[in-house]
Symmetry: C2
Subunit: 151 residues, 2 copies
């Protein structure tokens, strides 16, 4: 990953950190088209009482309505490996590549995404891991809720 | 499908009709837990400028934060066969059954949902079909955008 890519991931990490500071789930994302940041977003389950605003979906929502072409030329940066809702959103819109901050804390959809032709690059970023380790240690019930598991 | 089930599907159809009248995509949904309607929702791409408010996701958002147990005992009624975003949301939350108004206008995820243990019942409802036929004839660009296709 070159320094431009690291900068895009850093935007996602910054969102994750903001989400943590707001009392929420520290997962962030950035959607980049042709080197331009279309939007950033973060998990806002707690902040908005939302069941569908994960980092990736919040980011896509913030990007607004886009034509198919734009998604198909974009890269989605996310601090954590996508759940199936977010992976399904990637497949729906034909986003061809996802850069994943880390997948040690959670991993569900990577093989499935690859089977739909999505390129997955896992960075294994220490700060992404640290944020999720804190989440799982300090807010385990919210984390369970966020991934549809019994706490 | 018994008359109770038809009533739940009718709530989804009513949402779809409202969405059409608002100038949007006529797809609606209802989430039912233990015979009680938790929420209804409709595609609000046009109304809210949204990339993630499909019928099913809008419905789940309207239901608010729910514990895993509730989703796992619920049925999702939707007027149209789910796209992968909505299907991924069903898998994330472990919703065990989806009642689909029709799947002639669009079908992408049913086999995949079944492979995750989700029961799919397709009603082939004439009113659901009629609404989507009108959508595809009269607002084809918006429909293409909604499913991530070039128009």
């Amino acid at each position: 990953m070159d320094e431009h890519e690291q900068r895009f991931l850093d935007l996602a990490v910054e969102q994750a950190r903001t989400g943590w500071d707001e009392g929420g789930v520290p997962i962030g994302a950035a959607l980049v088209h042709d080197g331009e940041v279309l939007a950033v977003g973060r998990n806002r389950r707690v902040q908005l009482g939302s069941a569908i605003r994960h980092g990736e979906t919040d980011c896509l929502e913030n990007a607004g309505r886009q034509p198919a072409r734009v998604y198909r030329e974009s890269v989605l940066y996310t601090t954590l490996s996508p759940c199936y809702m977010c992976a399904g959103t990637v497949v729906l819109y034909g986003i061809p590549r996802v850069v994943v901050g880390e997948n040690r804390s959670f991993q569900a959809s990577e093989d499935w995404l690859r089977s739909h032709g999505v390129k997955i690059d896992v960075v294994d970023d220490a700060e992404c891991r640290r944020l999720m380790e804190r989440m799982m240690a300090e807010r385990p019930e919210v984390w369970a809720e966020d991934i549809g598991e019994e706490s």
